[in-house]
Symmetry: C2
Subunit: 703 residues, 2 copies
C-alpha cells in the first residue's frame, strides 16, 4: 500500500516525457524557411553536434576512470556495489538532458526565425515549444532515473529505506560531474566565441553583431546551443535530482525517529510534489500565448501567466499532500515548501531589479559609461556585490523559517532532523515548477539563435525586430531562472551537508563530531571551502581569456588574409573558429572538475569529517555570494549595453556604447560560465564527500 | 615583581617615540628646494591639513554619539564605566598616528625630491626617515596607550587581570572605528582624485601623470597623503593594538586554568615581544642604505637587509622570552610566534609573486592587453581570485600549527584555550617588526609625492628617474606590507572571536552555546557575515565611482572653460578639485562605519550569541578572501601598466597602454580602498560584538 507513490512518480515522469515529445513534434512541424536559412541552421547544427560528440568522448574517459576508482573503493568495502553504477547512470541522464535540449534547440532556431516572418505570436509559439521540450525532458528524465532506481533497489534487491536513499544520493555525484563538464565546457566555448566575435567584429571592424562576414559568427551561435542550452539542461537536471534525493534521504532519517508516521511517506513526499509539479507546469504551459505587440510587458505577462498559475497550483496541492501523507503535526513542512517557492520567486525578482534596464541600478550603470570604461566596470562590480544583500536575507529567512516551523509539531528529539528535512523540502518547493520555469528560460537561446539566423540570412528587418523582442524577454526570464538555480543550489547544498553528517554518524556512531565553528579544524575547513569558488571562477575566467585570445587572433587573421570577406564575396572560414573553440574548451574543462573531486577527498584525509563539514559550509556560503555577484554584474552590464544601444546615453556607436560593449564582454564569463558553474560545484563537493565518507572516517590526519 | 613588565613595555614605547622624533628631525633638516617646489609642497600640505581638519570634525560627531550610547549602556549595567573612555582614547591615538604620519609625509615630500637632485641614496635617506617616523610613531603610541591603561586600571583602580584585559579590549573598538573612517574617507579621496586625474588627463587630454596643467594633480598628491599615509597610519595602529590586546586577554584566560604559571606573565608576553620588536626594528632601520644604482634588486636588498635582520632578532629573542616567562611546557607558544612571523613573510612573498612585473602572472596580464581592455580586466580578476589559494593555505597551516603545537604541553582541560592564545600570539609575531616593515611601506607615498613635485616643478628628468626608482620599489614593499596587514587581520579577528566566546561564557555561564556550523542560526550568521565584506566593497567602490565622476566632470569643465591651462599660461583651479574630493569622501565615509557597528548588534539581537559567532567567522573568511583578491588584482594591474609603459607589449601610448591604464584605474579602488578597509572591518565587527555582548546575551530572538 505504502509503495503506490512510486507509480505516481513514474507516471509523472512518463507524462512529462510524452508532453516533451508532443511539443517537439509541434516545434519541428514548422518549415525551416529559405535555403540560406537552412544552410546556416545546418552549419550551427553540425558545429554543435561535432562539439557534443567530442565532449562526450572526453567525458567517457573521465567516467571510466571514476568508475574504476569507485569499484576499487567498493572492493575495499568503503562503498556498496551499487554506487559505481548509480554514478554512471546519473551522468548518463544528465548528459542526455543536455543532448535532447540541444537537439531541439538547433532544430527550432531557423523555424523560429521563419515563424517570425508570419508574426510574433507564431515565433513565440515555436520558441516556447522548444523551451518546453527542454523543461519537461529534464523533469521527466529526473523522475524516471529516481523511480527506476527505487524500483530496482526496493523490489529487486529488497533493500531497506535507509540503504536505498543512501545509494541514491550517490548518483547525484554522476549527474553533478556531468553537469559541471557541460557547464564549464559549454560555457568556455560560448564565451570564447562571443568575446572573440564581439571584440574584433563589433569593436575593431565595426560590423554588426551576427554579421555573416564575421568568421566567429557561427561559432557564437553554436556556443549558444552547447553552452546556454546543453549546459543548462545538464545543470538543471543535476539541481532537480539533487534536491529530490537529498530531501527523500533526509525524510527517511527524520521520520525514522517517529513511530506514528511511515518513513516511506517521508521519502514519497518530494517525489509526489515533483509529480504534481509536472501537471501544474503542463497546465501553465498551455496558458502562454501573446498578441502581435512587441511590448516587453505584454510578452512578460504572457509568460508570467504560465509560471504563476503553475506556482499557485503547487501551493494549493502541497497542503493536502503533506497533511495526508505525514499528518497534521508536520504541517509545518508545508510552510517550508511554501517558503521555498516564495523565496525562489523573490530572489528572481531582485535579480530582475538589479539587472533589468527598467530599474534604477542598470540605468545608473549605463549612465556611468559617460566617464569611460573604468567607471563602468567599477560601478558594475559594485552593483553586483551590493546585489548579494537581498538574496542572503531571503535565503537566511527561508532557512530559519523552514527549519523552525517544520520542527514545531515534532517531538523534541526529532525537531532537528525534521527541521533539516524542512530545509530540503524548501529546495524541492523552489524547483517543483521547473518544467515551466525552465521552459521560459530555455526558449531564450532559441530566440537568440533565430535572431542570428535572420540577420545572417538577410531577412526583412521586421523579423529581427520580432526575434529581438523575444530574445530581450529571454534575458528577463533568464534572470528569474538564475534566481531559482542559485537559491535552490544553496538550500540543496545544505541538505546534502546534513546528509553527509548523518552518513558519518551511521558509519561510526562512536565518532565524537565537534562541528563548532571555533574548532580550528572546522575553521580551516571553512577557509579552504570558501576559497574554492574563487579558484573556480579564476580558472574558468582564465580559460575563457585564453580561449578568447586565440579566437581574436584567428578572426583578425582571417580578416587580414582571406580577401573578400569584408565585401561579402567570400565566405569566412567558420569551421576553423568552431574547431578552435571546441579544442580550447575541451582542454580547459577537465581541471575544474578534477579539483571539485580531489579537494573534498584531500580535505577529508587531512582535516577529517569536521573539517569536511566546515569546507562544505564555506564553499556553499562563498559560492552563493560569488554566484549572485557575478551573475548580476554580468546581467546588468549586458542590459546596460542594450539600453545604450536602443538610444539612451549617447546611443549605438558612441564612446559610451564602446565602453558598454567592453563591460558586456567582461560580464559574459561572469554570468554565463563562472557564476552558473559555481552552483554545480557546491553540490558536487557535498556529493563527493558523501561518496568518500567511509574512507575519510577511517583515515585522516587532524580533527 | 611580576608587574615589572609594564615598565619595559612603557620604556619600549618611549624609545620608539624618541626615535621617531630623532628621525623626523633628520628628515626635516634637508632643504625643501626651489621656490616652485616649496609652493607646490605647501599646496599639498594645505590641502591635506584642510582635509584632515574637516574629517576630524565629522569623526568627533560620530565619537560623541557613540560615547553617549556607551554611557547609556554603562548606566544600564551592560558595560563598565571604563568602556566609553577607553573607546575614545583608542580613537584618539589611532587618529593621532595618522596625523603624525601625514605631517611628516607632507613635510618631507619636497625634501625627498630635493635630496634626489643630489643622488639616490640621499633621496632614500629622507624618504625612509619619513617612513620610519610613521612606523615608530604607530608602534610607540600603541604601546603607550596599552601601558597607560594598564597602569591606570591596575594601580589606580586595582582591577583584577580579567577585568583589565576585558576593559582594554574595548579601546580596540575606538581605534578600529577611527581607522575605518581614515581608510575609507582617505581611500575615497585619493582614488577619486587619482581616477579623475588619470581618466581626463592621461587618457583624454594625453598629458603625462602629475602634469601641472592637470587641475586634479594637486588633489591626487593630497590624496596620497590623506589616504595612503594618514589612512595607513590609523589602520596599522588599529592592527597593532588589536593583535596585542586580544593576545593579552586570551593569555589571561588560558593561564587562569593553570596554577604553575602566573597569568600576569601570559598578559606580559605579547607586550614584551612588542617591546623587543621596537629594539629589533631600531637596529634594522640603521642597516637601510644604498648606493647610486637605480636597479630595483639593489634597492630592494637595501630594504630587505633591514627587515630581515629585525625578523631574525625577534625569532631569536622570543625563545628565551617564552621559556622564562611561561616555562618549558609552553614552549609551543614560541613555535606559534615563529609560525606567525614566517606566515607574514610568506604571504608577502606570494603577494609579490602575483603583483610584481618580474614574475610570470603580471607579465602575462600585461600581454593580455593585446586583445583589449575586456580581456585585460577578465584576466586581472582571474589572477586576483587565483592568488587567494596560497594565502589561504598559509593562514590555514599557521592556524593549525599554532593551535596544536601551543597546546602540546598543556593539561587536557587547558589545551583549547592555550591553542587559541597561540593563534593570537602568531598575529603578534607577525606584527612584532611593524616598526620597520611599516617604515619600508610608508616611505612609498613620500617617494610618489616627491616624483609628483619633481614633475610639477620642472626639475631635471634625472630627479624624476630617481624618485620613480624609489616609488617603484615602494610598490613591492607595499605588497609585502599588505601581506602582513591581511594575514594579521585574519589571525587577530579569530583571536577576537575567541575573546567574544569567552566573554559570553563569563556573562552567562548557564548559556548552552551551540556553535555547531549545522545549527541554522550559526549558518545564517555565516551567510550574513560573509555578505558584509561584499557590501562593504560595493559601497566603497560605488562611492569612488560617484566621487570620481564628479572630479572627471570638474576637470573636463576646467579644461573647457579656463583658457590657457593647456599652454601653461594660466594655473588650473587646484583648490576646487581638492574641495570636491574632500566633500565627497566625508559624505561617503559615514555609511560604511555605521554598517560595521549596527550589523553586529542587529545580528546579535536577532540570532543571539551563536549567530554572532557565525557572523564573525563568515566575515573573517570572506573578508580575507576578498581583501587578498582585490589587493592582488589591483596591484597586478598597476604593475602591468608600469611594465608596458617602460617599453614592453607596445610601450607607452600604445593601445595596449590605454587598456592597461583602464585596468590600473579599475584596480585603484580595489587595492587602496576596498581591500584595506575590509581588513579593519573584520576586526571592528568583533570588537563591537564584544562591547555589546551583555546586551545581546540578555535579549535576542532566535538561537
Amino acid at each position: 500500500m505504502n509503495q503506490y507513490f512510486i507509480v505516481f512518480s513514474a507516471l509523472g515522469s512518463v507524462l512529462a516525457l510524452l508532453f516533451a515529445v508532443f511539443m517537439a513534434k509541434r516545434a519541428l512541424s514548422v518549415s525551416e524557411g529559405t535555403d540560406r536559412m537552412k544552410k546556416i541552421a545546418s552549419f550551427i547544427r553540425d558545429g554543435a553536434n561535432a562539439y557534443l560528440r567530442r565532449q562526450y568522448t572526453v567525458v567517457i574517459v573521465f567516467f571510466s576512470i571514476m568508475f574504476i576508482v569507485l569499484c576499487i573503493m567498493a572492493a575495499l568495502g568503503f562503498l556498496t556495489w551499487f554506487v559505481p553504477f548509480a554514478f554512471v547512470s546519473g551522468g548518463f541522464f544528465s548528459g542526455l538532458s543536455g543532448f535532447v535540449g540541444m537537439k531541439i534547440a538547433t532544430g527550432s532556431n531557423a523555424r523560429t526565425a521563419n515563424a517570425c516572418r508570419t508574426g510574433l505570436n507564431a515565433g513565440l509559439r515555436v520558441a516556447f515549444s522548444a523551451g518546453t521540450v527542454m523543461g519537461f525532458t529534464v523533469v521527466g528524465l529526473g523522475l524516471l532515473d529516481i523511480s527506476l532506481w527505487y524500483i530496482l533497489l526496493r523490489f529487486v534487491f529488497h533493500l531497506e529505506m535507509e540503504a536505498i536513499s543512501s545509494a541514491m544520493l550517490t548518483f547525484g555525484m554522476g549527474a553533478s560531474s556531468m553537469a559541471l563538464f557541460a557547464r564549464v565546457g559549454g560555457g568556455i566555448f560560448t564565451k570564447a566565441a562571443d568575446v572573440g566575435a564581439d571584440l574584433v567584429g563589433k569593436v575593431e571592424a565595426g560590423i554588426p553583431e551576427d554579421d555573416p562576414r564575421n568568421p566567429a559568427a557561427i561559432a557564437d551561435n553554436v556556443g549558444d546551443n552547447v553552452g546556454d542550452v546543453a549546459g543548462m539542461g545538464a545543470d538543471l537536471y543535476e539541481s532537480y535530482v539533487g534536491s529530490l534525493i537529498s530531501a527523500c534521504s533526509l525524510g527517511v532519517i527524520a521520520f525514522n525517529l517517529i513511530d506514528a508516521v511511515d518513513r516511506t511517506y517521508a521519502f514519497a513526499v518530494p517525489l509526489l510534489l515533483a509529480a504534481i509539479g509536472v501537471i501544474a507546469s503542463l497546465i501553465g504551459s498551455f496558458l502562454v500565448r501573446t498578441g502581435e505587440s512587441t511590448d516587453q510587458m505584454t510578452l512578460l505577462k504572457a509568460l508570467r501567466r504560465g509560471t504563476n498559475t503553475s506556482a499557485i497550483i503547487i501551493a494549493i496541492a502541497a497542503f493536502p499532500l503533506v497533511w495526508f501523507m505525514l499528518g497534521s503535526s508536520y504541517i509545518g513542512l508545508y510552510v517550508a515548501i511554501l517558503a521555498g517557492l516564495i523565496s525562489g520567486v523573490l530572489i528572481g525578482r531582485f535579480t530582475e531589479y538589479y539587472t533589468s534596464d527598467t530599474y534604477r541600478p542598470t540605468k545608473h550603470l549605463a549612465a556611468s559609461s559617460e566617464t569611460g570604461t573604468a567607471t563602468l566596470v567599477i560601478d558594475g562590480i559594485s552593483l553586483g556585490m551590493q546585489s548579494t544583500v537581498m538574496p542572503v536575507i531571503i535565503v537566511g529567512a527561508c532557512i530559519l523559517i523552514s527549519f523552525y516551523v517544520s520542527g514545531l509539531g515534532a517531538p523534541e528529539a526529532a525537531k532537528n532532523s525534521i527541521g533539516l528535512y524542512g530545509i530540503a523540502l524548501a529546495a524541492v518547493g523552489m524547483l517543483s515548477t521547473l518544467g515551466i520555469t525552465l521552459a521560459t528560460d530555455a526558449y531564450g537561446p532559441v530566440a537568440d539563435n533565430a535572431g542570428g539566423i535572420a540577420q545572417m540570412a538577410g531577412l526583412d528587418p521586421i523579423v529581427r525586430e520580432r526575434t529581438d523582442a523575444l530574445d530581450s524577454l529571454g534575458n528577463t526570464t533568464a534572470a528569474t531562472g538564475k534566481g531559482f538555480a542559485i537559491g535552490s543550489a544553496a538550500l540543496t547544498a545544505l541538505a546534502l551537508i546534513a546528509n553527509y553528517v548523518e552518513k558519518i554518524e551511521v558509519i561510526d556512531p562512536s565518532l565524537a563530531l565537534d562541528m563548532s565553528i571555533m574548532n580550528p579544524v572546522v575553521l580551516v575547513g571553512v577557509f579552504i571551502g570558501a576559497c574554492l569558488p574563487f579558484v573556480f571562477a579564476a580558472i574558468t575566467m582564465g580559460a575563457i581569456g585564453r580561449a578568447a585570445h586565440s579566437v581574436v587572433l584567428e578572426v583578425r587573421r582571417q580578416f587580414r588574409e582571406i580577401k573578400g570577406i569584408m565585401d561579402g564575396t567570400t565566405d569566412a572560414d567558420y569551421a576553423r573558429c568552431v574547431d578552435l573553440c571546441t579544442r580550447s574548451s575541451l582542454k580547459e574543462m577537465v581541471l575544474p572538475t578534477v579539483i571539485a573531486i580531489v579537494v573534498p577527498v584531500a580535505t577529508g584525509l587531512l582535516l577529517g569529517p569536521n573539517g569536511v563539514v566546515g569546507m562544505l559550509c564555506g564553499a556553499t556560503v562563498s559560492g552563493f555570494l560569488l554566484a549572485v555577484f557575478m551573475s548580476n554584474s554580468g546581467g546588468s552590464w549586458d542590459n546596460a549595453k542594450k539600453y545604450i544601444e536602443v538610444g539612451h546615453c549617447g546611443g549605438k556607436g558612441s564612446d559610451n556604447d564602446k565602453a558598454a560593449i567592453v563591460g558586456d564582454t567582461i560580464g559574459d564569463p561572469f554570468k554565463d560560465t563562472s557564476g552558473p558553474s559555481i552552483n554545480i560545484l557546491i553540490k558536487l563537493l557535498s556529493m563527493v564527500s558523501i561518496v568518500f565518507a567511509a574512507l575519510v572516517v577511517n583515515c585522516h590526519l587532524f580533527g
